[in-house]
Amino acid sequence: MTILDIERRPEVAAASEASRRRLDEIWKTPPGIAGFLSTVDHKQIGIRYIITAFAFLILGGIEALIMRVQLGRPEQQLLTPEQYDQLFSTHGMTMIFLYALPVLSGFSNYLWPLLLGARDMAFPRLNAFSYWIYVAAGIFMYAGFAIGAGPNDGWFNYVPYASRQFNPGMNMDFYALGMIFLGISTSAGAANFIVTVFRTRAPGMSINRLPIMIWGTLTASAANLLVVPAVSLAFFLLWMDRQFGTHFFDVSQGGQPLLWQHLFWIFGHPWVYAIVLPAMGMVSDGLPVFCRRPLVGYTPVALSTVATMVLGFGVWVHHMFATGMPNLALSFFSGASIVIAVPSAVAVFAWLATIWSGRPVVTTAFLFFASMIVLFVIGGVSGFMTGSVPVDWQLTDTYFVVAHLHYVLIGINLFPVAGAIYYWFPKFTGRMLDEELGRWNFWTMFIGFNIAFLPMHLTGLWGMPRRVYTYPDGMGWDWLNLITSVGSFLFAFGILLLLINVVKSRRDGRLAGPNPWDASTLEWSVPSPPPPYNFAVIPHIVSRHPLWEQQLQESDARSSLDTGYLLDHGRETIATTSLDSDIDLILKMPEDSYAPFLLTVAVSALFVGLLLHWWWLAAVGGFATVGAIMIWLWPERDLGQTADAGHG
């Protein structure tokens, strides 16, 4: 056999109608159920992520509203304690795990290849796989709730209350296995993002030309890769304790309940940054477009994104200030928790400076992005307060913390996401969202949110503990809770307006064209919605703002968007070097495949078997998993993985 690596000089051409037709033929996914189950198109997967995450957002929101009815007045009997406990735990699980990260993964999935000038993610099949696993794990986790065995120990699920002795039902088994299950999706997605950014950027898009959103998701992905195993392990050890009588958390046999808290929060705190940094990145990229100028302080903002995460690994103990630690440890972690505000300050002042020195065009997207700055600061300063140990000893586990975390998660995740929907909806669908309805949408959400959660700080300062299903009359909490309940319904109505706008504009919104916001990044250089192959030719980038070079006049060099590498010998995209983005290799991309879906079915069977102790099913699922992976990875000539590809 001759040993000859195929090498090729990639053809450089201008995009033509003929080449577009050919690429469309190569890249398009067949319609119907077959295409639905087998597609690896990052855009379809991204949209699915967003829709699924919003479905979970609605479920979690309904749970919240039921709880707010119960808490609207003291001594209410609408819910039993057990119902309330499952509701607040499921609400937390839903919002934090099934909404907050997946919705950002959705945006990143859709946008990354478009922002980077690539034709798909580095691992398209893995991308489909992480989506399917997310759906399967979400259904798995909700199945418990549906049969009355939802999690009932809060989202951070402290032992020993989660142990079998105190929690004999299946609630914890659903939650524990479900979290391990979901962790597969998170890790696979994180790996895919990292490789995508380091391998598939357009030529010339050196590391200092990346949009900030890429920095945000990259940082979050790196963190997830490092910390998701901690929580998966914690839940695995819990499951072992419950099912096989090991002694990790069982105190009477030498177990260590605080080990749970360490493992959980080593994961939990970086996770909080993972579900806000990409959203902050979306603001850093979107806001300047409406301010009609580049972001002020690109480099400080990019570095602060990374710095936040690095510091974020060192603050987990601030969730454990009340566990009886020595003062020295408390002082150290208190210091770290306060210092972590510094990189956040960099971002806040960079956004302010961008607005201050720009000419803001006030659109709905701008309102969401700009209001996020204030909500971020409110969530930030309340975090700073609880970072101070003696204050935290008073405020932790009260409604003050509930207010804090909702300002963080809604303020820095949901508001940017809503803004991002207004900003990128035209790219997704080719149509604009209704701006007038958008104003109603924004103001209802903004006012409703603040009515609901601003007074809640006071509820906490006045001593109301969190996670109580009811509270006595005469503690001074009644009217505050009533206001919160009223505000929460207004807030929910605002989200309903967003959904109405999406449904309405999807059908008859104004046509958008490729670049309705006159924005600067690569996704706006392709039609709306983008064709299956994204770019007819791979662009070549010479600046951070390829579409603004003419207006900014900062150098004579111009990015080449209409002429570039054609790459039409089957599904192909370009691989570039990690830092400087010099052309390195032509990547062969996989065809549509059922393997991700089938592997998900196999893994699901494994988890269901483990849950129900149907060991035969677990074994079948396990073998099917191994088989599916082998088939998936079988070297393919078309992907240039075998030696005889050399003849081709």
């Binding site: 040993i3 890769l225 195993p229 002694h247 046999q253 590498y565 990547l587 990875l633 993985q641 075998t642």
Partner: protein, 199 residues
Amino acid sequence: MVEVALGRPRVPVGSIRRRGVGWWGVMMLITTEASLFVYLLFSFYYFALQTPGEFLPRHPPSLSLSLPNTAILLLSSFAVWWGDVGVRRGRQRQLVVGLAIALLLGIAFVTIQLFEWRQQSFTLRSSEYGSLFFTITGFHMAHVVAGLLILVSLLVWSALGYFAGRRSAPILIGGVYWHFVDAVWLVVFFTFYLTPYLR
């Protein structure tokens, strides 16, 4: 206005050793799996420090089987490396032989480790030490089994003549995973088999 001139260098197509995305993918896998073992060992040392009184069992795991077994695992890593050198130089027979030796040594490791487990004076449920020992070595064993499945696949594919020269990324990728599994063993070995002697 300056239109950049696009270079047209000759570049490889498809999966080439470290330059494809596969190598990066396995590095991601190794990163996250290494983190998993860091947390497992963190748990072990947390218990060791926090447990009042005697943490170690009366008869800690012995070196009699584990030490030779460690050598076996390291040799199998060497065999994979030797096979990889072979395929890069176009000696496909060396690749197949190397992988086969590695696979046999890996199976030997698993077999001996099963005996070693049966020798212990404690069980998964007898103490917190037992829970940690069997969970951590069990996790490692699961990774060895995954590694063996990879070696089997690579052996089959190599025997089918799929790989040659630079077109041998799967050997590199699967091989580095096997090296990783072996490296983890060294840490596990140190933790359970050597630390009792360090007191």
